[in-house]
């Protein structure tokens, strides 16, 4: 395969990069291209969810004064502004406006329209307040608008897919690259460095995580972001402590016994780790992880899906690097005396990443599936959030609510399908047999 920026030097293809070929091949697959467009559409829906489905008017006149509640509401959510006292506890649905302009869907996912509960279908009689619109695809048991819920659910579905796959990709690519490039023999370390590193692993863990354990638990109670910050501080400390043995080993290397080079079986270690994770049924693992959380939330579910879903990517990258590492240009880089890290991350890895896109596309599909199954089971999702899986599960309350059984599930199905189609399209586009 060709380098990312390397030019294909056959005469007629002069100036056409590998990426151009992939793009052209992908463009030939019309279904995949349409899936990609649909994905863009979903991204737009997710980004504009607050403006498309919101109970607050864009603009309103209330008791003779003009307000822009929707925009102010967003600012309040971001902590930039405060509500005017008259709106602090406003009941947006039942308020009497002099004049108001509403979003296309005049309900938020959490708006409880008590008059239209329980389970008012799209075709059944609905009592709609003046200025508000009909519930397009009905309401659920307590009168929440299903359409608004689905629009806001798009955001969560995409966030789950993208965030968890980012985590998975980071871990998977890193570990896969190490395992594929080094194998079991290539990582030659002096005995002294190995011993010191193992010894200091214990100290690094102690100072980074044990000593700071309470700072971290306290941050955990505050929420995910404070915890993440504390965790990163710990990680930094860990790396600082681990730097010590590697500096010391420069000296220790001089001692003949400690200077003797031994191979670290990187590949065996990482492959065993993959086997361990693959041996545990993913949904059960996530169930157990969520069970030990004090305050489970959708963010945690994303992180957990990401932390458990990297094995496929790692295997893929490993296989690619096993192939790439014996290519001539890598040998050339080695003979030029480049550092191993530079060879892996600057030279070997970029050439192996394009096929990983396939795994990522399929991975996003399965992450969305796992999340919707979890929220269908009612696990790890906060009560105030509406997700597709949760809406679908409400259909179980009453068989007459067919709209709850059909539409949220359709949304999951379509989203999963387009990611699968994009994955298929990429597979075809990257297949060397099809390339001219």
């Amino acid at each position: 395969m060709f380098g990312k920026k390397k030019q294909v030097s056959t005469g007629q293809n002069l100036g056409v990069s590998y990426w151009d070929i992939v793009k052209r091949q992908f463009g030939k697959n019309r279904v995949a291209v349409w899936s990609l467009y649909f994905f863009y559409f979903l991204v737009i829906v997710a980004l504009s969810a607050d403006f498309v489905a919101n109970e607050k008017p864009y603009y309103c006149q209330y008791k003779g004064v003009t307000y822009f509640p929707l925009f102010r509401g967003l600012a309040v959510d971001m902590g930039l502004a405060k509500w005017q006292p008259e709106f602090a506890q406003a009941d947006w649905v039942n308020m009497e406006y002099d004049k108001a302009v509403f979003a296309p869907i005049t309900y938020s996912p959490t708006t409880i329209d008590i008059v239209n509960s329980p389970f008012k279908g799209p075709f059944s009689e609905q009592e709609i307040k003046p200025g508000r619109r009909k519930h397009l695809i009905g309401t659920d048991q307590i009168g929440r608008d299903v359409c608004a819920g689905m629009i806001h659910g798009t955001r969560i579905a995409l966030m789950v897919g993208v965030l968890s796959m980012s985590i998975s990709s980071l871990i998977g690519i890193f570990l896969g690259a190490l395992s594929g490039y080094y194998g079991d023999e290539r990582l030659q370390v002096s005995r002294g460095r190995l011993i010191l590193n193992v010894l200091f692993l214990f100290f690094a863990w102690f100072y980074a995580f044990q000593v700071r354990a309470y700072a971290m638990t306290d941050a955990l109670a505050d929420g995910f972001v404070p915890y993440l910050i504390q965790w990163l501080i710990s990680l930094f400390l860990f790396l600082v402590v681990m730097a010590i043995p590697n500096l010391l080993s420069v000296v220790f290397k001089r001692i003949p016994y400690l200077g003797y080079k031994v191979a670290v079986p990187v590949d065996i270690i990482i492959m065993r780790a993959i086997e361990v994770i693959n041996s545990i049924p993913i949904l059960l693992l996530i169930l157990s992880l969520v069970a030990v959380l004090k305050k489970p939330s959708i963010t945690w579910v994303m992180v957990i899906i990401g932390l458990t879903g990297w094995t496929g990517i790692a295997k893929y990258v490993r296989a690619e690097l096993l192939r790439v590492r014996s290519l001539e240009y890598i040998e050339a880089a080695q003979s030029l005396g480049y550092s191993e890290w530079r060879i892996i991350f600057r030279h070997a890895l970029p050439n192996s990443l394009t096929p990983v896109l396939i795994t990522i596309a399929f991975g996003i599909a399965s992450a969305i599936l796992v999340e919707s199954s979890l929220s269908f089971l009612g696990i790890g999702v906060q009560a105030e959030l509406q997700t597709w899986g949760k809406l679908l599960s409400e259909a179980r309350e009453d068989v007459s609510a067919w709209w709850l059984a059909v539409f949220p599930g359709l949304a999951i199905f379509v989203t999963v399908t387009i990611f699968n189609l994009i994955g298929e399209g990429l597979t075809d586009a990257l297949d060397p047999r099809l390339k001219q």
């Binding site: 000593v211 086997e275 041996s279 545990i280 049924p281 169930l287 157990s288 089971l377 599930g409």
Partner: protein, 504 residues
Amino acid sequence: MFPYILKRVLYFIPTFIVISLITFLLSQMAPGDPVELKLKGGMQSANQQASDKLSGEKAYLELSEKYGRNLPAFYFSITSGAEPDTLYKITRKADRESLARLINMYGNWPLISAYYYSVQNLELAVLSMPDDQASFEARKTIRDNCNILYINYDDNEIENILKQTQALVDLSVTDSQQVVHKPLASISGTFGNVKNSYEKVKAEKRPSANLLPAFHWYGTGNQYHRWMFGDVPWFGPNTDITKHSKGFFRFDFGTSYVDDREVSSIIKDSLRWTLLLSFIIVLLEYLISIPSGVILAIRSNTLFDKVYTVFLFICYSLPVVWIGTLLITFLTSDYYGDKFNLFPPYGLGKVGDEFGFWEKVTDRSYHFVLPVFTITLGSFAYMSRQMRGSMLSVIRQDYIRTAFAKGLSPGKVYWKHAFRNSLLPIITIFSSLLPAMISGAVIIEYMFNIPGMGRVSYDAQVQRDYPVLFTILLFSAILTMLGNLLADILYVMVDPRISFNKKM
């Protein structure tokens, strides 16, 4: 082949150890104190006597022993240098955690433990005071304050509580004869102890002691060892009544926190439903997808192939939750017309001895139609696609052309020569099928209310019944590993070209 199988089995051991460690770590991280939850109520009666307090402690200790929670967690522990190796002997989880916090803040364990015992003395002193109407409220508040002190480590709050208690101890009551007396004067000395010891903890703090690591070795008397191997002797009668557990390897998985049932019996009851369902599903999947994949490959690039491939793709992308919900909504009730009331929505149907065997079998299969269909749809599509792909790649090979060239009939070429080699990928799928099956079982059994492993693990998750949840986790990991092993062995048997005796 035999050395290879032996090697695979040996690989099994470290993987199992790591998985059991992960499971154990999770169970240690689980929030809440099961012993406390179990004993809740009955502990805090208004008119408590010293004997009640002592018997409560005893009950707590007994239950901790039953759950094995009175033991250190693992073979060893790495703690801060200030922490004693006997901290686990404080059996109450909440107390232990707050003491650990205090150690983290002040670093002088002897003084902290003196403070802890002084609070205990205060509580006992209050409890053993004669019952006297005038001081009833004050005594109750002091007792409550003691309970707060046990689990508090925040300096401001402790100072507040101490101040409040001081006021109560100094309380003077004027009785009907206009005599002023202090009903709680007798415990002022004990309370003074609490105050002094706390002051001392703060005055002589050495938080730097926390910066040195300490390593403690506990031996086999620990929770992990007990969970895996049990504490009852393997041979001979059990003479120690404080020992209950036989351990994971002797199929004793502990008892449920919720209803005190043996976890092993819960699993035994639920496993058969999951196994039965899985067996039917795997059988159906292989029976349908292998022939359909082969036929698709033989007829590749015909219209039939194209339409069917699209159909398979759609089936493959269909979320199990959606199909199940749709089927339950539209096919299990009269709401959309009598014609659509085809299947029972959930459950197992007739259970019990009063029904005949065949009656049960027919009823059961009637109940299983929807769940089996729901879960088979997706994986059958996946497997058919795999089978088609692998058969296609085999058909394109030279030896197939040779077989045709020498005049063999197509049937013989496809089914005798190509088929066997195209089976390989299907066997590898088998190993990934098992974990997917167990994950799928959670959803299916929840949806159709089948009391299998998936349903039980869901219930355990919701009720935070950790012994059940973690046992199922470990158990399903073992099942998966066995499945992998089986797949590998089948792999060798089907394809004689593969020899694992070389380095893998």
